[in-house]
C-alpha cells in the first residue's frame, strides 16, 4: 500500500506546469506551480457521466488538486465516455501513457442532492484500486472534489492527501489587517478578524476548530483564541508587557506563550482558558517561538542566550535544554514536521533569509528556498509541503515548497495587499 508499484520513474524536475484558476470570482489566492516532483504519476481523469448537467464541475478541481501537488501529470482521456470500470478500454489509456484512471458518475439523488460516484483504476494491472460514493448538495461540490483528490493521492502515494484542509494567513491592505482562513487551494477566503492594528502569529488548534493569534488592537500584543464556528473569542494572555507566540500543545488543552511580564521575553505554559501560567525557562535572554513536538514531550524554541538567535529544544518533563542549530548566526521560527523527525526553520545566509529543514537525528540542514526574504514556515499536515511567506515585486505573497525542495508553488492574492504568516491547518476528522 506504499508507493503504487507499476509507476515508472521518470524525471521531469524542470517541467513547468502553469495552472491558473480562471473564472472563479471569489478566488483571492491563485496558485502557480513552478517545478515538479521527481516522479509524476500519469493519471487520466475522465469527466464524470452527468457532470455537464451541473454548472460547477468536480473532475476539473480533482485534476487541479493532483497537478498542484507536483506528483501527478494529467493525461488526456481522449473523449471516452467511460463511467464505470466495465466501460473502460484499458488499451486506449495505456497507449496515452496513463498509469491510473478515474471514472465516475453524477446523478440527482432527490431533495437537491447529487450522488457522486467515482472509481480509481490501475491502468497497468487493469484492476480497481478504490471507489467511493458521496451524496451532497451542489454547494459541496468543491469539498467533494477535494475529498476525491485526497483519496486518489493517498491510494497512489501512500501519504494522506491535504486537499480538504484549510490555511490561515494575515492580509495587510493599507492600514487594514485581516486574519483570513481559506481552503488549501486558496478558494473561499473568509475574514476571521479585522483590525487597524497589526495581527500576527496565527496558530491552529490541533482539532482545527479554533485559531490563536496575536493582536495589537489594544496597542500592545495580546494573545487571543477565536472559535471559527461561533466567532467567539477570548483572551488567553494579557499580562503586563508583550504577550505573543502562541503554540498549542498536541492535546489542545494548553499553550506555550511568550510573555515579558518579568522583563525579558520568556516562555510560559498556560491553559487555553488563560489560567495557571507557569514559567518554563529562566534565562536572561530572549526565549520565544515555541513549537510542540508531535508527541508533546518537548518544544523547540528560539533563544539568543548564546549571543545569536538559535533553535533549542526543551524537554518538558526534565526541563533540560539543548541547542539544536549550529550552522550560521540566525536560525529562528522552528516548526516540527508532523512525524517529529525533522523541523523547518528560518535561516539567514549572509543577508538572505530562506526556509530550511534540519533532520533531528543527523542535524543535516537542507535549504529549500532562495527567495531571500522568506519567513514563517508551516508544514502541511502530511509533511510533504511547507507553506511560507515570501516577497515578490515588493509585495508579500505566500509560497510553498515540497519538503524535498523539488516542487514549488506561488500563491498570489488577486485583491492586492501583502499576504503573510501562513499557517496550514490540520487534517479533517
Amino acid at each position: 500500500m506504499k508507493h503504487w508499484s507499476p509507476v515508472s520513474r521518470f524525471l521531469s524536475a524542470l517541467a513547468v506546469a502553469l495552472l491558473l484558476f480562471s473564472g472563479a470570482a471569489n478566488a483571492q489566492l491563485t496558485i502557480e506551480i513552478v517545478g515538479g516532483g521527481a516522479t509524476q504519476t500519469p493519471i487520466a481523469i475522465v469527466p464524470f457521466a452527468g457532470e455537464s448537467d451541473y454548472p460547477l464541475g468536480i473532475t476539473g478541481v480533482v485534476g487541479a488538486d493532483l497537478q498542484r501537488s507536483g506528483l501527478f501529470r494529467l493525461i488526456e482521456s481522449g473523449g471516452t465516455r467511460a463511467a464505470t470500470p466495465q466501460d473502460v478500454r484499458y488499451a486506449d489509456f495505456r497507449s496515452r501513457g496513463a498509469e491510473a484512471i478515474v471514472v465516475g458518475t453524477m446523478s440527482p439523488a432527490g431533495g437537491g442532492q447529487v450522488n457522486v460516484r467515482f472509481y480509481l483504476l490501475d491502468a497497468v494491472k487493469q484492476t480497481q484500486l478504490t471507489a467511493f460514493s458521496y451524496t451532497v448538495p451542489t454547494t459541496q461540490f468543491r469539498a467533494v472534489a477535494h475529498k476525491i483528490a485526497d483519496v486518489i493521492y493517498e491510494a497512489l502515494t501512500g501519504d494522506k492527501g491535504v486537499f480538504s484542509t484549510r490555511i490561515a494567513y494575515i492580509v495587510k491592505q493599507g492600514r487594514r489587517h485581516m486574519l483570513q482562513v481559506a481552503d488549501a487551494d486558496g478558494f473561499n477566503p473568509q475574514t476571521i478578524v479585522q483590525s487597524d492594528e497589526p495581527l500576527m502569529s496565527p496558530s491552529w488548534s490541533p482539532d482545527g476548530a479554533r485559531l490563536a493569534y496575536v493582536s495589537f488592537e489594544n496597542r500592545k500584543p495580546i494573545v487571543y483564541v477565536q472559535d471559527l464556528a461561533s466567532g467567539r473569542k477570548h483572551t488567553v494572555a494579557n499580562f503586563r508587557g508583550n504577550n505573543s507566540a502562541p503554540a498549542w500543545s498536541p492535546d489542545g488543552q494548553r499553550m506555550v506563550v511568550t510573555l515579558t511580564k518579568d522583563g525579558n521575553s520568556q516562555m510560559y505554559m498556560i491553559n487555553v482558558d488563560g489560567s495557571g501560567e507557569r514559567r518554563l525557562t529562566q534565562s536572561g535572554a530572549i526565549d520565544t517561538e515555541a513549537n510542540f513536538a508531535p508527541d508533546g514531550s518537548s518544544i523547540l524554541f528560539v533563544s539568543d542566550r548564546g549571543g545569536t538567535p538559535q533553535i533549542y529544544r526543551l524537554t518538558l518533563s526534565s526541563g533540560a535544554v539543548e541547542r539544536v542549530t549550529f550552522e550560521g548566526s540566525y536560525n529562528t521560527s522552528p516548526r516540527y514536521a508532523p512525524d517529529g523527525k525533522s523541523f523547518a526553520f528560518l535561516k539567514r545566509d549572509g543577508n538572505r533569509f530562506n526556509i530550511a529543514v534540519q533532520d533531528m537525528a543527523s542535524r543535516q540542514v537542507q535549504t529549500l528556498t532562495q527567495g531571500g526574504n522568506d519567513e514563517s514556515p508551516s508544514f502541511a499536515p502530511n509533511g510533504r509541503m511547507i507553506l511560507y511567506a515570501s516577497v515578490q515585486g515588493g509585495r508579500g505573497i505566500l509560497a510553498a515548497v515540497s519538503s524535498d525542495g523539488r516542487v514549488k508553488q506561488r500563491l498570489s492574492s488577486a485583491v492586492g495587499g501583502d499576504v503573510r504568516e501562513p499557517a496550514w491547518g490540520p487534517l479533517g476528522k
Partner: protein, 197 residues
C-alpha cells in the same frame, strides 16, 4: 524590477553594517516630536509620537526658547515638546540585531532620566521597534529588548520602575515602510512616549 532594487539594497547593507558614518545617516538627532509621522505610512498611523500638536515648522534649533515655544496639548510642560530642548528628542536608534544604546544617545537618555526623576508623576511608555528583516516573533522579542535597555538605563539613574512601561511593536509598525538601508536604520528604534501624549 523592484527585486533588483531590493537586492542592491541588501548589497548596500553588507557595506553599511559596520560603518558608523552610515548609521549616522539615519534621521537621528534632528527628529523632533511632531515631525516623526510618515504621512499615510502604513502601520504608523497610530504612532503616538506623531500626535503632537506642534506643527513641524519654524523654530530652528537653538533659535527657540521656552517662552516662544507653543504650548502643547493637555497642559504638559512645553520642555517636552520644545524642539530646542533635548527632551523633545524621543528616539534611540540601534545597529542591526543589537539592543546596545550607543553613546550618541546617552545625553537623550540622561535628559529624560533627570526629567522623570524630577517629575515623579510623569510616566512613559518605551516602544521598541525593529527593521523588517527576519522572523516576526524574534523581532518582537528584539524590540522588547531594545525598550528594556532604555528602561534599565533610566532605572540606573533612579527613575522608578512604575514610571516606565515597555512595549514592543517588533517589525509590525514601521515608521518607514520602504525596503532599504535608510528605512531599516530608521525602523531600528525605541521611542519614548509620555503618558497623555
Amino acid at each position: 524590477m523592484n527585486k533588483i532594487v531590493f537586492v542592491a539594497a541588501l548589497g548596500l547593507l553588507a557595506a553599511c553594517s559596520s560603518t558608523p558614518e552610515n548609521q549616522n545617516a539615519a534621521p537621528v538627532d534632528d527628529r523632533a516630536v511632531g515631525a516623526g509621522a510618515v504621512p499615510g505610512g502604513p502601520g504608523s498611523t497610530t504612532s503616538p509620537a506623531g500626535g503632537s500638536s506642534l506643527s513641524g515648522s519654524a523654530i530652528p534649533p537653538g533659535g527657540g526658547s521656552l517662552a516662544s515655544a507653543q504650548p502643547s496639548s493637555g497642559g504638559r510642560p512645553s520642555a517636552l515638546t520644545d524642539p530646542a530642548n533635548i527632551l523633545s528628542k524621543r528616539s534611540v536608534y540601534y545597529d542591526y540585531d543589537s539592543f546596545v544604546i550607543k553613546d550618541d544617545y546617552r545625553p537623550l537618555i540622561e535628559a529624560h532620566g533627570r526629567y522623570l526623576r524630577d517629575n515623579r508623576n510623569a510616566h512613559i511608555v518605551v516602544q521598541g521597534n525593529t527593521d523588517e528583516r527576519g522572523g516576526r516573533e524574534y523581532n518582537l522579542a528584539l524590540g522588547n529588548k531594545r525598550a528594556e535597555s532604555v528602561k534599565r538605563a533610566l532605572a540606573i539613574m533612579g527613575v522608578q520602575d512604575q514610571q516606565v512601561e515597555t512595549v514592543s511593536f517588533g517589525k509590525e509598525k514601521p515608521r518607514n515602510p520602504e525596503s532599504n538601508e535608510a528605512a531599516w536604520a530608521e525602523n531600528r528604534r525605541s521611542d519614548i512616549v509620555y503618558r497623555g501624549e
